[in-house]
Subunit: 592 residues, 2 copies
């Protein structure tokens, strides 16, 4: 037997009992004749005491214990002289009578504490040590519990969890697939799923009515800090329901998760059309924890001989409260430079300060009278002490830039309280995006998304321009500016699906080769259906007010897609490649 | 709104209510002026009635409905004239007032009934239709519920579910890996996990204490009927526990699953050493629903001038009760031929019949007296009316053959009741298997399995022959002759692990390149740990008394590893291969 109790459970009520504990040495302290060892496991920390007067040999042994040694200790539970109220086991200690070293440890390359001194690369390489730290343990326990609560809620609602395959078929639509050569079918490849989309639709055609799965998905994309080549989705699909019934189901799920996990009661989720979100926030995933909404000033700024505004398609302002007196010229210069970085690409930043003494100060003061500027301020709902920031240019681009500015000001002004959660359904997305470069349409959501029902005649018969205006029955769940989930009502009619494939540039043969099974399924009694997928890694991060998903993943990959701990990917044997009928091409720098 | 109720919930208490149902047309019957439509969904079947006298147009519409049309119908719940006691909704019917065809259907290529007329290939290709059949729906609901109960039990026991990565590192040990070329790391490959073995051990080193995961695993092996290239495991690992504590935990899980799913109370699981299982049943996964245990007759059969037995390393018998008078000479001839097939490879079959009139009849009667033969019968516990079957030859081979014979007789004699469940822990497996062909040891379980603790000195210092005798702290859970789970206490000491790698033929460099992270982890405070993995697909099949796992998998692959529905694997674009720096070799018939 390695332990009678764990390191988190002993209390005064155990006083006098003989117990055995096992765990890791967090630290040792020698105080005169006494040696104290903090013994740690997943459940807590318990203090062990060794007394030189009682057992000198044992105490000498204890003194030699290094950090992270794995030991087993038996002794009597005793009341502590000086109690530690910050620790659940702080009332007691163990007077040790037997000590076994189960495994010694080299000195760890970084400290195993709440805050560590280890850099990212070191922590990734020694992930097994990083995982011993309380913050990572909390994160992964949170994740495990979130999965349990998700499954519980959905099962209670009559959903069935079905495992869909991981070795599927490569399709050029969407992101890049990871492919898997098939030894038994030489020259052919499986693909790892970017999502179980077609399978969950097939399950609806198969009559499963309510499906879910917490499932790994794969995308071979160039990675950013918040992307991983493999990620986890809560994937759901339902039959015979309208959009609003589907949204109500997943609003229920989300509310339940916040209540169970964080004891937060979310209010009913507002719905906002995509077009409205773009006008008010310049983003299809607005952070609605704070206002600072867009105010269009295109008309108001015209005709005053300021050519920059006169020639701009779009002029837009936002009001930053209380910044007129607190933002120095240096602050404003820095903000302007931040906006001028190539990632954002603003030409410049116009501001209008309404000082507390009622004076107006603006970078465009020589073109506009104080009355003009007060008109703008008033339209933006500004008050004395506020600053109005104004950007202009091509509309779509300027909306994006202003969205970045709004978020940056929100961060600077402390308007993004990580304890406040503001969910929002964004609905009525465009169905198709026209890509000028490739001269073709892309699906804004994916090729299986249905247009809104009153758009179907336009889609079947409309001209090219009408296609650009089609609205989809698609929806995103946004919380605090992060897209947590996205879904749509799906097409369940073969003609409509074929038309959509055609609009997306598939020939009939290509559509048949890649999605023939789905088109076939639609001919054998496909029910109306729709669904959603939640980004599970991201949901964890957002619920914890954290930006990066990496610390909610036990074994994440770095930005080159490498697992630093196991050192993967890696070369494989020639023999293995031969069995797969594959040759490696010579690897050179790409030509420019 | 598509429905106010589902097709399984309406009862007499709903009489008079207006309801709306949606679903699939199971069948239509025209009886005079009335047309009846059975409407089906996941939840049940409800009878719709159309009356020519009340609404001729509507009834005409209903008469044209084909099988598997998807419809929506609104009407009043009414008591049925002739009730159907076999159907939960059999007391009522719906007098339909509105009918919408949501989606028509072509005539399905096979019947959507409890028993279908579709062959395997057709059912795989039209899996979405096969999935509508009640048996498959029951199987997948069973599977979903089994996963829920598994998670519930393990979470209640303090286990945390952690997702381990799917893009890992290829290792030549064990079965063949599926590999995934990495675009971002040209010339390098990920592998799909055969199991999360090293990751769960790393989680123990990381202090997670109790881990589980229901997880997809992958093996690129030639497929048999009960194998799939991707399969699902209940994967578990625990720290600071002895073998028997670990077995008790998973015995608890198994008992709980049988209780919750089948209302079966399993008795405590016996433990049997591998050596004993081989002696008594000739198998490390004996079906203990019936006896028919092996009786060694090597000594008893010697010295009577029957050279076949005199020269045999091993002579063994089993007693088939009540077959002396019921098995004809023709039956015995067929049984002998069955044993002589190359898959089993017996030279012949000896029998000793103890007839009800107390006479003895045997194929070896001219070598042995009735007293000799009665001695054998007595040793085998035979009674009048029984037959003793005897095989001989090289011991290990003969044990396997006799195991096959025992199972065949068990099937023929109806001794394998699918409603009876006999679990068994098989323990103390050999650590290493010597492979004569490659002249090297293989790990019987896997390279991370610990020898039993008192074997460690032998392992570190023993000679080659001693290595063959080493016992592992490994265990299998066997139910009704099927290996449901397997696991072991793991090595947690770097020296011992290095020694094991060396015995398995790894050079130090190879061990370091492939498992350096694990050897490193063992130096930083690895706790004693062990675990188990249950075959989840197989557990579903065994609990339902079914041999094949295929009907418990929503989208299985055929024996060539193909998904017949989506037609995967398939060729990929040249461009995609270029991005991966891969060339396809010309594919020819292999040379012999």
């Amino acid at each position: 037997m390695y332990r009678s109790h764990n390191c988190g459970e002993l209390r005064m009520s155990h006083q006098g009992q003989e117990v055995t504990l096992s765990g890791w040495v967090q630290k040792t302290r020698n105080l005169g004749g006494l040696t104290f060892v903090d013994l740690r496991d997943r459940y807590g920390i318990t203090q062990l005491v060794f007394n030189m007067d009682t057992d000198a040999e044992l105490t000498e042994k204890a003194r030699k214990l290094g950090r992270e040694f794995v030991i087993k200790a038996t002794g009597l539970v005793a009341e502590r002289g000086s109690k530690n109220p910050n620790r659940p086991t702080g009332d007691i200690e163990i007077n040790v009578t037997t000590l076994d070293i189960l495994n010694p440890a080299k000195t760890p390359p970084f400290t195993i504490e709440e805050e560590t001194d280890g850099g990212d690369d070191l922590r990734m390489k020694y992930r097994y040590l990083d995982l011993r730290r309380a913050p990572l343990q909390r994160n992964l326990f949170f994740r495990s519990k979130l999965a349990i609560e998700t499954r519980k809620y959905l099962a209670d609602q009559g959903f069935i969890e079905v495992e869909t395959p991981n070795l599927i078929k490569s399709t050029p639509e969407g992101a890049r697939d990871f492919v898997v050569p098939s030894r038994m079918n030489p020259g052919e490849f499986y693909a790892l799923p970017q999502s179980p989309q077609t399978f969950k639709q097939i399950l609806m055609v198969g009559g499963f009515d309510k499906y879910f799965q917490i499932v790994k998905c794969f995308r071979d994309e160039d990675l950013r800090a918040d992307r991983q080549p493999e990620f986890t989705q809560i994937d759901c699909e339902m039959s015979f329901l309208t959009r609003d019934e589907i949204l109500a189901t997943f609003e229920g799920l989300t509310k339940n998760l916040f209540k169970e996990m964080l004891n937060v009661e979310l209010e009913d989720f507002p719905k906002m059309a995509y077009d409205e979100a773009m006008e008010r926030y310049g983003s299809d995933k607005p952070d609605t924890r704070f206002g600072m909404e867009f105010v269009e000033l295109t008309k108001e700024s015209r005709g005053k001989d300021f050519p920059v505004f006169d020639n701009a398609e779009y002029v837009v302002g936002i009001c930053a409260q209380g910044t007129a007196e607190t933002y120095s010229n240096k602050d404003l210069k820095k903000l302007t430079e931040w906006l001028q970085r190539p990632q954002i690409g603003c030409k410049g930043l116009v501001y209008v300060k309404w000082n507390n003494d009622d004076t107006i100060k603006s970078t465009v003061g020589k073109f506009y009278s104080d009355d003009d500027l007060k008109g703008w301020l008033s339209k933006a709902g500004a008050e004395k002490g506020d600053t109005l920031f104004v950007l202009c240019g091509e509309k779509e681009k300027t909306q994006k830039q202003m969205n970045e500015l709004r978020l940056e000001l929100g961060r600077k002004l402390g308007l993004m309280d990580p304890k406040v959660f503001k969910p929002l359904w964004v609905v009525d997305f465009p169905l198709l995006e026209w890509d000028e470069e490739s001269e073709r349409f892309h699906a804004m959501h994916h090729p299986f998304t249905s247009p809104k029902v009153d758009e179907i005649p336009n889609m079947m018969n409309g001209d090219h321009e009408a296609m650009k205006r089609l609205k989809a029955d698609a929806y995103d769940l946004v919380i605090n500016g992060v897209e947590i989930g996205g879904g749509s009502i799906r097409i369940h009619d073969k003609e409509l699906q074929s038309k959509n494939f055609k609009l997306l540039g598939f020939t009939e043969e290509e559509a048949e080769a890649q999605f023939g099974f789905l088109l076939g399924a639609f001919e054998y009694g496909a029910p109306p259906h729709g669904g959603i997928a939640f980004g599970f890694d991201r949901l964890n991060a957002v619920m914890n007010g954290v930006d990066s998903i990496r610390d909610f993943i036990a074994f994440p990959k770095n930005n080159s897609g490498r697992d630093m701990m196991i050192d993967a990917p890696s070369p494989v044997d020639e023999e293995q490649l031969n069995e797969l009928y594959l040759d490696l091409k010579p690897i050179e720098k790409e030509e420019s």
